[in-house]
């Protein structure tokens, strides 16, 4: 199936892209790995595509006190980059789709698309990343937790462009991204992003975010609170895993029922925390 008729605009700069977006009914295309399938199914039918995929301005990985990742950075570039204090980014990138999808798909595209089963949204929620949004009116920064609003719905407006994602390195934290899939290269049935800092076996800080269990990334705040300050042992781990599923109502679909997803959440969290305990 081919997409319906569509116009095409390739800007030379971010400024040109923003001008065009404000004047015309259009949709950004970055890597196209989520958008083109939707155009082919004719779920979307914009008047113009604005191709920012090759905008050098938006393709960068900067390290320092803050790590900044430009929106058009390809997943494969992150797979080959270990970022000290944010090792979870590389691990997450390596689990998105397959090699070909990772060679085209971008960080900004994944985040802006906000698929409720995507990997980056949960990971960036656990890192409490900041999304930098550009529009004709200027630049604004939105915390990951406020950025994701629902399925395929974010704080981005019609004529906004996500410019970059900023993350504070969490040095000394153990960082893990795990996902359970039905077949290789699939979206997560349940995915878990976990970052944890322990001191002499006692949890100093922990952030737990799931994907695939809600209409947006789900932070298990109560489980985090239960763990913080307590000794990381089998009893605190099992308690936290039970608390993590309280109050969340995962969807039921062809990949698994709601109850099954809850069970997977519990086990994923418990097993991951057990491994962290043994490693510390």
């Amino acid at each position: 199936m081919y997409p319906a008729q569509v116009g095409y605009y390739k800007p030379e700069s971010l400024g040109e892209a923003l001008d065009f977006l404000e004047k015309h009914e259009s949709k950004i295309i970055a890597g196209g790995q989520s958008l083109i399938p939707m155009l082919k199914l004719r779920i979307l039918n914009p008047k113009y595509l604005v191709d920012i995929g090759d905008l050098k301005e938006l393709s960068f990985i900067r390290e320092g006190d803050v790590i900044s990742i430009g929106a058009t950075t390809r997943h494969s570039e992150l797979v080959s980059k270990r970022l000290p204090g944010a090792e979870i980014i590389q691990e997450t990138a390596s689990k998105v789709g397959d090699v070909q999808v990772r060679n085209m798909g971008t960080v900004g595209g994944s985040v802006s698309n906000a698929d409720p089963s995507a990997d980056y949204p949960a990971m960036f929620s656990a890192l409490e990343a900041t999304m930098v949004i550009r529009s004709k009116a200027g630049t604004r920064e939105v915390n990951a937790l406020d950025f994701f609003k629902g399925p395929f719905n974010t704080a981005l407006g019609q004529s906004d462009i996500l410019e970059q994602v900023k993350v504070k390195p969490l040095r000394g934290y153990k960082q893990v991204y795990r996902k359970i899939v039905r077949r290789a290269g699939d979206f997560a049935l349940v995915g878990l992003a976990l970052v944890l800092k322990a001191n002499a076996g006692v949890v100093e800080d922990v952030r737990i975010a799931f994907t695939g269990v809600s209409d947006k990334p789900y932070r298990a705040i109560k489980a985090e609170e239960a763990l913080r300050g307590s000794k990381l042992d089998s009893s605190s781990i099992s308690k936290a895993s039970e608390i993590a599923v309280e109050g969340v109502n995962p969807p039921s679909d062809s990949r698994g029922s709601s109850m099954y997803r809850k069970e997977v959440m519990k086990r994923l969290l418990r097993n991951t925390l057990e491994e962290m305990k043994d490693a510390s």
Binding site: Y8, Y9, G32, Y48, D98, V99, Q100
Partner: protein
């Protein structure tokens, strides 16, 4: 570059070393461009949903699924298809290894598999069988013949001196 809906645009693409200038609608998929405009039918359409990898080609050296890329996105870029992998009518090392290891059954997935194999072997790094399996999981063989495909890629990797 600006094209109104329905309007064609001129694109310049280097495919297998040859420069082409063609007019396409922006909605034209790269795979259809290769097959219909350039008559390079080695690249196959399997699933048309970005799942099977039969349409895999190299764009600026990186493997991509050409059913999920627009021809206009390849403007001013270099594309290599299965037809571009053999030189002077001689099979590439990977192609020969596929032949020698009986790594094809119906052959529909083969073009994409071989292009992907070229991509993952280009750095001539030693790869474990497990890594090879992970790196080709975007390519599906409906005949479920992965063992010989993996053997062929491991063999090609050795022949390339990895």
């Amino acid at each position: 570059m600006l094209a109104e809906p329905g309007q064609r645009v001129k694109i310049k693409v280097k495919v297998n070393g040859v420069e082409y200038e063609e007019e396409v609608e922006p909605r034209k998929l790269l795979v259809d461009f290769l097959r219909e405009n350039l008559n390079l039918t080695g690249t196959k359409i399997g699933c048309d949903t970005t799942t099977c990898g039969a349409c895999t080609v190299l764009v600026n050296g990186k493997s991509v699924k050409s059913c999920t890329m627009l021809a206009v996105q390849a403007n001013n870029k270099e594309v290599v298809t299965i037809e571009g992998l053999s030189t002077d009518s001689r099979l590439s090392v990977v192609q020969q290894a596929f032949k020698d290891n009986f790594a094809l059954q119906c052959g529909f997935c083969t073009a994409g598999m071989i292009v992907q194999a070229h991509y993952i072997l280009k750095e001539k790094k030693p790869l474990s069988e497990e890594e090879v399996r992970d790196l080709i999981h975007g390519n599906i063989c409906r005949c479920t013949g992965y063992q010989n495909i993996v053997n062929a890629i491991m063999d090609a990797s050795r022949r390339m001196g990895a």
